[in-house]
Symmetry: C2
Subunit: 116 residues, 2 copies
């Protein structure tokens, strides 16, 4: 039976993101918790950190929690700060930079089928 989960995000293990510089991920809610449709992750990018350009056939729904960054989506660049919401549709190239002096932290939700 699937149970509820209530934790502070710092209680969820932090893993280094491969193919990125100075970036960590916490899988806050995922299949491991019995989530049926989508996973909520928290990214932490250190000052100067960078997630290189990539694309994939699933979307991102993002909410910026802390720090300052730049996100490139296709041909467009956006400055993001706490409280910013970002929707990246499937199949569009995207890339992230921490442009601030503190950690850039954001929530990023993806469909679970993307992991299969």
């Amino acid at each position: 039976m699937v149970r509820e989960k209530v934790v502070h995000y710092t209680q969820v293990e932090k893993e280094r993101v491969e193919n990125a510089n100075g970036t960590w991920i916490r899988w806050l809610i995922s299949e491991r918790d019995g989530a049926p449709n989508f996973a909520m992750r928290l990214f932490e990018v250190e000052p100067g950190g960078h997630i290189p350009a990539h694309k994939h056939p699933w979307e991102h729904e993002i909410f910026v929690l802390e720090g300052e960054g730049r996100i490139r989506i296709g041909d467009n660049n956006y400055v993001v700060k706490p409280g910013y919401v970002v929707f990246i549709p499937p199949d569009i190239v995207h890339e992230y930079w921490n442009t601030g002096k503190t950690f850039l932290k954001f929530i990023c939700v993806i469909p679970l089928k993307s992991r299969k």
Copy 2:
């Protein structure tokens, strides 16, 4: 063609939640934006506000941004503060109270099929 979306959450319209006290919702990312699988909403509950007990056959994935609250999930009660992650599986009764002196704000993601 589905386009990206980058906005501050305060730029998204705030609507009063029916059947709740002192509660507003912003549909940050939804079908209107071309989201294919799930919707990201932001709830704002005023001090003393309350979302009464209810249940439905879809899950919630929640991240608490501001304020203090209590969430009942089934028979269990949880105190939540900024940085708390809450997974509410489908078909479990849940209920929310703002127990603090400022707005309780949280992200809540749901599958889009739940709106059909």
